[in-house]
Protein backbone atom coordinates (compact mmCIF):
# COMPACT_ATOMS: atom_id res chain seq x y z
CA UNK A 1 0.00 0.00 0.00
CA UNK A 2 2.07 2.91 -1.24
CA UNK A 3 1.19 6.38 0.01
CA UNK A 4 0.52 8.90 -2.77
CA UNK A 5 2.59 12.07 -2.44
CA UNK A 6 1.24 15.19 -4.05
CA UNK A 7 3.45 18.15 -4.92
CA UNK A 8 1.56 21.38 -4.44
CA UNK A 9 3.74 24.42 -5.02
CA UNK A 10 6.37 24.53 -2.31
CA UNK A 11 4.72 21.76 -0.32
CA UNK A 12 4.43 18.00 -0.36
CA UNK A 13 1.24 16.34 0.77
CA UNK A 14 1.26 12.65 1.69
CA UNK A 15 -2.27 11.30 2.02
CA UNK A 16 -2.36 7.99 3.81
CA UNK A 17 -5.35 6.08 2.47
CA UNK A 18 -5.49 2.98 4.65
CA UNK A 19 -3.69 1.10 7.42
CA UNK A 20 0.04 0.90 6.75
CA UNK A 21 2.60 -1.78 7.50
CA UNK A 22 5.93 -0.85 9.03
CA UNK A 23 7.53 -1.32 5.61
CA UNK A 24 5.02 1.11 4.10
CA UNK A 25 5.88 3.67 6.75
CA UNK A 26 9.60 3.27 6.13
CA UNK A 27 8.95 3.71 2.41
CA UNK A 28 6.95 6.86 3.06
CA UNK A 29 9.81 8.31 5.07
CA UNK A 30 12.33 7.56 2.33
CA UNK A 31 10.05 8.96 -0.39
CA UNK A 32 9.38 12.18 1.48
CA UNK A 33 12.98 12.83 2.38
CA UNK A 34 14.03 12.13 -1.21
CA UNK A 35 11.43 14.45 -2.72
CA UNK A 36 12.01 17.27 -0.27
CA UNK A 37 15.60 17.28 -1.55
CA UNK A 38 14.70 17.15 -5.22
CA UNK A 39 11.97 19.77 -5.11
CA UNK A 40 13.53 21.88 -2.35
CA UNK A 41 10.13 21.85 -0.66
CA UNK A 42 9.46 24.17 2.25
CA UNK A 43 6.96 21.96 3.96
CA UNK A 44 5.61 18.43 4.26
CA UNK A 45 2.08 17.54 5.28
CA UNK A 46 1.27 13.99 6.29
CA UNK A 47 -2.45 13.28 6.47
CA UNK A 48 -3.12 10.45 8.94
CA UNK A 49 -6.92 10.74 9.03
CA UNK A 50 -7.19 7.16 7.76
CA UNK A 51 -5.04 5.72 10.55
CA UNK A 52 -6.88 4.29 13.54
CA UNK A 53 -3.62 3.57 15.35
CA UNK A 54 -0.39 5.47 15.85
CA UNK A 55 1.87 3.09 17.70
CA UNK A 56 5.47 3.57 18.75
CA UNK A 57 6.83 2.70 15.32
CA UNK A 58 4.50 5.13 13.55
CA UNK A 59 5.39 7.90 16.01
CA UNK A 60 9.06 7.24 15.57
CA UNK A 61 8.69 7.34 11.80
CA UNK A 62 6.72 10.60 11.83
CA UNK A 63 9.31 12.17 14.12
CA UNK A 64 12.01 10.82 11.83
CA UNK A 65 10.37 12.42 8.81
CA UNK A 66 10.21 15.75 10.65
CA UNK A 67 13.84 15.51 11.70
CA UNK A 68 15.22 14.53 8.32
CA UNK A 69 13.21 17.02 6.33
CA UNK A 70 14.18 19.77 8.79
CA UNK A 71 17.81 19.14 7.88
CA UNK A 72 16.77 19.96 4.33
CA UNK A 73 14.96 23.12 5.40
CA UNK A 74 11.39 21.83 5.41
CA UNK A 75 8.86 21.74 8.21
CA UNK A 76 6.55 18.78 8.83
CA UNK A 77 2.92 18.99 9.85
CA UNK A 78 0.83 15.93 10.70
CA UNK A 79 -2.87 16.51 10.08
CA UNK A 80 -5.97 14.49 10.92
CA UNK A 81 -4.92 12.72 14.11
CA UNK A 82 -8.12 11.18 15.50
CA UNK A 83 -8.77 12.33 19.08
CA UNK A 84 -8.83 8.72 20.34
CA UNK A 85 -5.48 8.17 18.70
CA UNK A 86 -4.08 11.31 20.35
CA UNK A 87 -5.35 10.21 23.77
CA UNK A 88 -3.87 6.73 23.42
CA UNK A 89 -0.54 8.00 22.21
CA UNK A 90 0.00 10.17 25.28
CA UNK A 91 -1.25 7.48 27.64
CA UNK A 92 1.36 5.13 26.20
CA UNK A 93 4.03 7.70 26.91
CA UNK A 94 4.63 8.53 23.26
CA UNK A 95 5.26 11.98 21.79
CA UNK A 96 5.38 13.29 18.25
CA UNK A 97 8.75 14.94 18.66
CA UNK A 98 9.41 17.93 16.41
CA UNK A 99 6.12 17.50 14.61
CA UNK A 100 3.48 20.23 14.32
CA UNK A 101 -0.11 19.01 14.25
CA UNK A 102 -3.37 20.46 12.99
CA UNK A 103 -6.91 19.18 12.76
CA UNK A 104 -7.09 18.98 8.98
CA UNK A 105 -5.34 19.68 5.70
CA UNK A 106 -6.72 23.18 5.42
CA UNK A 107 -5.32 24.21 8.81
CA UNK A 108 -2.07 22.47 7.92
CA UNK A 109 -1.65 24.54 4.78
CA UNK A 110 -2.63 27.68 6.71
CA UNK A 111 0.19 26.95 9.16
CA UNK A 112 2.73 27.25 6.36
CA UNK A 113 1.28 30.45 5.06
CA UNK A 114 1.46 32.10 8.46
CA UNK A 115 4.60 34.05 9.38
CA UNK A 116 6.70 31.72 11.50
CA UNK A 117 8.60 32.80 14.55
Amino acid sequence: MQVPILKQGDFLIASIQAALTDADLRQLQDDLVHRVSIYRSLGVIVDVTALDVLDSFACRTLSGIAQMTRLRGAKTVVVGIQPDVAFTLVQMGLRLEGVATTLDLEEGLALFNRPTN
Partner: protein, 138 residues
Amino acid sequence: MAAEARHLETSVPILADIDIVTARQQGRALAERVGFIGSDLTVIATVISELGRNMLTYAEKGVIRLRPHYFGGRRGIMVVAEDEGPGIVDVELALQDAYSTSKSLGLGLPGTRRLMDEFDIVSVLGKGTKVTVTKWVS
Protein backbone atom coordinates in the same frame (compact mmCIF):
# COMPACT_ATOMS: atom_id res chain seq x y z
CA MET B 1 -25.43 -4.26 24.77
CA ALA B 2 -23.30 -6.84 23.05
CA ALA B 3 -24.42 -10.45 23.26
CA GLU B 4 -21.86 -12.75 24.79
CA ALA B 5 -19.19 -13.50 22.27
CA ARG B 6 -17.35 -16.39 23.89
CA HIS B 7 -17.07 -18.36 20.68
CA LEU B 8 -15.24 -15.58 18.85
CA GLU B 9 -11.71 -16.48 19.89
CA THR B 10 -9.21 -16.04 17.07
CA SER B 11 -5.59 -16.70 16.54
CA VAL B 12 -3.38 -14.68 14.19
CA PRO B 13 0.07 -16.02 13.25
CA ILE B 14 2.57 -13.16 13.07
CA LEU B 15 5.10 -13.92 10.35
CA ALA B 16 5.39 -10.60 8.51
CA ASP B 17 4.49 -7.00 9.22
CA ILE B 18 1.22 -7.22 7.30
CA ASP B 19 0.09 -9.73 9.95
CA ILE B 20 0.33 -7.00 12.57
CA VAL B 21 -2.21 -4.98 10.60
CA THR B 22 -4.48 -8.02 10.37
CA ALA B 23 -4.16 -8.76 14.07
CA ARG B 24 -5.03 -5.25 15.16
CA GLN B 25 -7.99 -5.08 12.80
CA GLN B 26 -9.29 -8.38 14.17
CA GLY B 27 -8.65 -7.20 17.70
CA ARG B 28 -10.60 -4.01 17.14
CA ALA B 29 -13.48 -5.92 15.54
CA LEU B 30 -13.60 -8.40 18.41
CA ALA B 31 -13.42 -5.59 20.97
CA GLU B 32 -16.43 -3.93 19.34
CA ARG B 33 -18.34 -7.21 19.52
CA VAL B 34 -17.49 -7.54 23.19
CA GLY B 35 -18.88 -4.07 23.83
CA PHE B 36 -15.93 -1.68 23.86
CA ILE B 37 -16.38 1.80 22.44
CA GLY B 38 -14.36 4.89 21.68
CA SER B 39 -10.77 5.19 22.72
CA ASP B 40 -10.72 1.71 24.29
CA LEU B 41 -10.85 0.31 20.75
CA THR B 42 -7.83 2.39 19.82
CA VAL B 43 -6.03 1.27 22.95
CA ILE B 44 -6.60 -2.41 22.18
CA ALA B 45 -5.49 -2.05 18.56
CA THR B 46 -2.38 -0.15 19.64
CA VAL B 47 -1.39 -2.79 22.19
CA ILE B 48 -1.76 -5.56 19.62
CA SER B 49 0.45 -3.58 17.29
CA GLU B 50 3.18 -3.20 19.91
CA LEU B 51 3.15 -6.85 20.93
CA GLY B 52 3.07 -8.03 17.33
CA ARG B 53 6.02 -5.87 16.37
CA ASN B 54 8.07 -7.08 19.32
CA MET B 55 7.57 -10.66 18.14
CA LEU B 56 8.76 -9.88 14.64
CA THR B 57 11.69 -7.81 15.85
CA TYR B 58 12.98 -9.99 18.63
CA ALA B 59 11.59 -13.49 17.98
CA GLU B 60 11.09 -13.40 14.19
CA LYS B 61 7.58 -14.82 14.56
CA GLY B 62 4.84 -15.73 16.97
CA VAL B 63 1.10 -15.96 17.48
CA ILE B 64 -1.43 -13.46 18.80
CA ARG B 65 -4.57 -14.91 20.33
CA LEU B 66 -7.61 -12.72 20.84
CA ARG B 67 -10.21 -13.89 23.26
CA PRO B 68 -13.43 -12.47 24.73
CA HIS B 69 -13.07 -12.64 28.47
CA TYR B 70 -15.90 -12.90 30.98
CA PHE B 71 -15.13 -12.95 34.66
CA GLY B 72 -16.94 -11.93 37.81
CA GLY B 73 -19.72 -10.20 35.91
CA ARG B 74 -17.28 -8.18 33.84
CA ARG B 75 -16.59 -8.52 30.15
CA GLY B 76 -13.39 -7.75 28.41
CA ILE B 77 -10.82 -8.84 25.89
CA MET B 78 -7.71 -10.87 26.50
CA VAL B 79 -4.74 -10.60 24.17
CA VAL B 80 -2.07 -13.29 24.36
CA ALA B 81 1.16 -12.77 22.41
CA GLU B 82 3.36 -15.84 22.44
CA ASP B 83 6.61 -16.59 20.70
CA GLU B 84 9.42 -19.13 20.81
CA GLY B 85 12.13 -16.54 20.47
CA PRO B 86 15.25 -15.92 22.59
CA GLY B 87 13.35 -14.65 25.64
CA ILE B 88 14.10 -11.50 27.60
CA VAL B 89 17.26 -11.35 29.71
CA ASP B 90 15.97 -8.85 32.25
CA VAL B 91 12.18 -8.50 32.29
CA GLU B 92 12.24 -5.77 34.94
CA LEU B 93 14.45 -3.69 32.71
CA ALA B 94 12.36 -4.40 29.61
CA LEU B 95 9.35 -2.97 31.43
CA GLN B 96 11.07 0.34 32.06
CA ASP B 97 10.36 3.37 29.90
CA ALA B 98 12.88 3.98 27.15
CA TYR B 99 14.75 0.69 27.59
CA SER B 100 15.34 -0.92 24.23
CA THR B 101 17.86 -3.34 22.77
CA SER B 102 17.05 -2.25 19.22
CA LYS B 103 17.46 1.55 19.09
CA SER B 104 13.69 1.69 19.25
CA LEU B 105 11.72 3.91 21.67
CA GLY B 106 11.44 1.28 24.39
CA LEU B 107 7.85 2.21 25.20
CA GLY B 108 6.07 -0.85 23.81
CA LEU B 109 5.97 -2.99 26.95
CA PRO B 110 5.67 -0.26 29.60
CA GLY B 111 3.13 1.58 27.46
CA THR B 112 1.11 -1.61 27.03
CA ARG B 113 1.14 -2.10 30.77
CA ARG B 114 -0.16 1.44 31.31
CA LEU B 115 -2.92 1.04 28.74
CA MET B 116 -4.33 -2.30 29.87
CA ASP B 117 -6.06 -3.31 33.10
CA GLU B 118 -4.10 -6.52 33.54
CA PHE B 119 -0.62 -7.33 32.38
CA ASP B 120 1.41 -10.48 32.72
CA ILE B 121 4.69 -11.48 31.13
CA VAL B 122 6.55 -14.75 31.27
CA SER B 123 9.84 -15.05 29.47
CA VAL B 124 12.29 -17.94 29.53
CA LEU B 125 15.72 -17.54 27.97
CA GLY B 126 16.09 -19.74 24.92
CA LYS B 127 12.43 -20.76 25.14
CA GLY B 128 10.31 -17.74 24.37
CA THR B 129 8.08 -14.99 25.66
CA LYS B 130 4.40 -14.88 26.51
CA VAL B 131 2.62 -11.62 27.22
CA THR B 132 -0.97 -11.81 28.44
CA VAL B 133 -3.00 -8.62 28.78
CA THR B 134 -6.64 -7.91 29.52
CA LYS B 135 -8.84 -4.88 29.25
CA TRP B 136 -12.30 -4.72 30.84
CA VAL B 137 -15.28 -2.83 29.49
CA SER B 138 -15.75 0.09 31.88
